[in-house]
């Protein structure tokens, strides 16, 4: 996931997430959307399910992008410069917490960033 891999703007949040399952696994619409809603609830973001990309704040957008990436079967998530997606964060705690919430949905995760951003990640 990256700032250069945006959410599809003419689809609601839950449709963006459900799309991966619907397309690759031919999962029925209702089931895929229910699944998307359940995962959004893990972040306490059930209320944004019907919103579209421009209506999201940066944290919400990050979580939705993360969930979408995790919907791929046996997902290996690669996050490219997460602080470009959530620029105002002081450190990486939010990112790590978000990853922990859905750690059962992916097999591995790698974060790529510039060396000068190292201090933002601290001990992580």
């Amino acid at each position: 996931m990256s700032e250069n891999v945006p959410l599809i703007s003419n689809q609601d949040v839950y449709m963006n997430i459900a799309l991966i399952k619907q397309y690759h696994e031919n999962m029925p619409r209702r089931k895929a959307q229910q699944l998307a809603l359940t995962y959004l609830e893990r972040f306490g973001l059930g209320a944004i399910a019907g919103r579209r990309n421009p209506a999201l704040n940066t944290e919400e957008r990050f979580c939705v992008m993360l969930l979408r990436a995790a919907m791929v079967k046996d997902a290996m998530i690669l996050i490219d410069q997460p602080f470009q997606i959530v620029p105002h964060l002081q450190d990486g705690r939010f990112i790590m917490d978000a990853l922990k919430i859905i750690d059962d949905l992916y097999s591995s995760c790698h974060i790529y960033d510039y060396r000068w951003m190292e201090k933002k990640y601290g001990e992580l």
């Binding site: 250069n4 891999v5 945006p6 959410l7 599809i8 703007s9 003419n10 449709m15 799309l19 991966i20 619907q22 397309y23 690759h24 031919n26 999962m27 029925p28 619409r29 895929a32 979408r68 791929v72």
Partner: protein
């Protein structure tokens, strides 16, 4: 560069563009018959597209067809009465209005509303890197974006054109009663006797071809947008001009088919 070179370049560009569109059409047409095209995601987009194109437009479409249809039928009938050609009412209704006028007006309305929207939507998605996003997630653009819109175009034009014909024929019934004192039974018999099955088949096929191309061309041009926002109006205007050229070409070809 000489005038002839410029002209030659233009012709080459036009021919290669036309050949590209035909090749793309072939690729898309074959996908219609492949089972894997119809994923759950594609079906959802298809249902939404049919709603946007054929259902949302219904009030306006019905209003236009009632107003235009009644006026047109009124004028045609009064002309026929004046010229003493009332025995040709059935042929004119079926041969001109149902098979020619209905598809043409329907396709014009849908092109103005939906083709322009599709062209812009594709161009915006390209500029926003959303097309690239779908590719990153290994979502086939043709299966997910192109096919639902094309199938929607075919279904919507066939259905709306049929609706337009029904409204016109109903107006015809009303006007024939008022102007010629013709009963509904006589009117129906007149229509049935003037109906040529092959004409109806050609009209339906023409609607399907219209629906195919008025969605395919805007998609193709929309996907040609670059990363620049300024490329959006360029590809939209190019796409719309090409759609209208395609409509005229299909109309001419269908007339030729009828003549031969």
């Amino acid at each position: 560069m000489s005038l002839f070179e410029k002209l030659g370049n233009q012709v080459i560009r036009m021919i290669s563009g036309f050949a590209g569109t035909i090749a793309f059409s072939g690729k898309v047409f074959l996908r219609i018959f492949q089972r894997k095209t119809y994923s759950s995601a594609m079906r959802e987009v298809l249902v939404n597209q049919i709603y946007f194109t054929a259902v949302q437009i219904l009030p306006l479409f019905l209003l236009v067809s009632i107003l235009f249809g009644s006026l047109f039928i009124g004028i045609v009938f009064s002309l026929l009465k004046e010229l003493g050609l009332t025995q040709f009412i059935g042929h004119i209704l079926m041969g001109l209005i149902v098979t020619e006028l209905s598809p043409f007006l329907t396709v014009l309305l849908i092109t103005l509303r939906s083709s322009a929207a599709i062209n812009t939507e594709m161009a915006v998605m390209k500029v926003n890197r959303e097309i690239r996003t779908l590719e990153i997630f290994r979502i086939d653009i043709i299966d997910y974006l192109v096919m639902p819109r094309i199938i929607n175009g075919i279904i919507s034009i066939v259905l709306l054109s049929s609706l337009f014909s029904i409204v016109l024929l109903a107006s015809g019934n009303l006007f024939s009663r008022v102007m010629f004192g013709m009963s509904t039974d006589v009117y129906s018999n007149l229509l049935l006797n003037s109906t040529d099955f092959s004409d109806i088949v050609i009209a339906l096929l023409k609607c399907a071809v219209y629906g195919f191309f008025i969605t395919l061309i805007p998609i193709r041009f929309g996907l040609r947008a670059s990363r620049e926002l300024t490329s959006i109006p360029v590809v939209v205007s190019q796409g719309m001009v090409n759609v209208f050229a395609a409509i005229l070409m299909i109309e001419v070809l269908s007339l030729l088919t009828k003549l031969l």
